[in-house]
């Protein structure tokens, strides 16, 4: 399963889901689905999100289990 830090970084920059959605050209609902891990975004959207949240895609998204491997 794909995990992410979208909610955390969005809160850090004080964006609402709607704000972030407007920046990356998707609906607020799509941002909510991504944050809940319900939906894996396309590479294009992942890159747009990383840019909007001033980070890299691999800092924003990772596969479940990979986190433990690094430890």
């Amino acid at each position: 399963m794909l995990k992410n830090r979208v909610k955390e970084l969005r809160a850090r920059y004080g964006f609402t889901q709607s704000d972030l959605g407007k920046q990356v050209d998707v609906t607020r609902q799509t941002i909510a689905f991504i944050e809940k891990g319900e939906f894996s975004p396309s590479i294009t959207l992942a890159l747009k999100l990383a840019k909007a949240l001033q980070t890299n895609v691999d800092e924003l998204f990772w596969l479940e289990g990979d986190e433990e491997d690094e430890k």
């Binding site: 050209d25 799509t30 689905f33």
Partner: protein, 166 residues
């Protein structure tokens, strides 16, 4: 999103289907008299008292629902000029595909509906072949499948959209 007409569209369709089922009951088993002589050519169809009342009430309710539906559709199209809904589109208007997230939930809901149709239609056909069902029951069966597909679609989409938090 919760007030989005496209989300409510399956519920409207379910309402129309239920009234159509009631209308079908009202019109079931009519008496038909065909006169075809040298001097007269006529067909007379008579329906039972209670059943005709049922058919008339169902038809009246159908037109009332149609009027309310048309008014809601007009209201939606006026408020959402870039996302107009057409009741006569070949593509079902309940598809929510304005971006990849919404396309994802539409696809999930459509998959569930497809699975339901895959099983229910052959089963319905089998019942109709094996059992000596009256025409009305077969019509109700078809309407039940139509009702089921809208309900499955609505529930699936609704479940994704109900926990919306900013």
């Amino acid at each position: 999103m919760k007030n989005d007409f496209r989300l409510q569209y399956p519920l409207w369709q379910m309402g129309f289907i239920i009234l159509l089922g009631a209308f079908a009951y009202g019109l079931s088993s009519p008496m038909t008299e065909v006169v075809n002589t040298e001097t007269e050519n006529s067909i007379m169809i008579s329906i039972g008292g209670t059943q005709s009342l049922f058919a008339m009430i169902a038809l009246l309710l159908y037109f009332i629902l149609l009027a309310v539906f048309a008014s809601q559709l007009r209201k939606h199209n006026k408020n959402n000029p870039h996302q107009k809904v057409s009741a006569f589109s070949i593509r079902p208007p309940e598809y929510l595909e304005q971006d990849e997230g919404m396309t994802y939930i539409t696809r999930k809901a459509a998959q569930k509906v497809y699975t339901f149709i895959t099983w229910s239609l052959p089963l319905l056909a089998a019942f109709a072949i094996i059992l000596p069902l009256p025409k009305l029951f077969i019509i109700w069966g078809i309407l039940l499948v139509a009702l089921g597909q809208y309900w499955i679609y609505y529930r699936e989409v609704r479940s994704h959209l109900k926990e919306e938090t900013e």
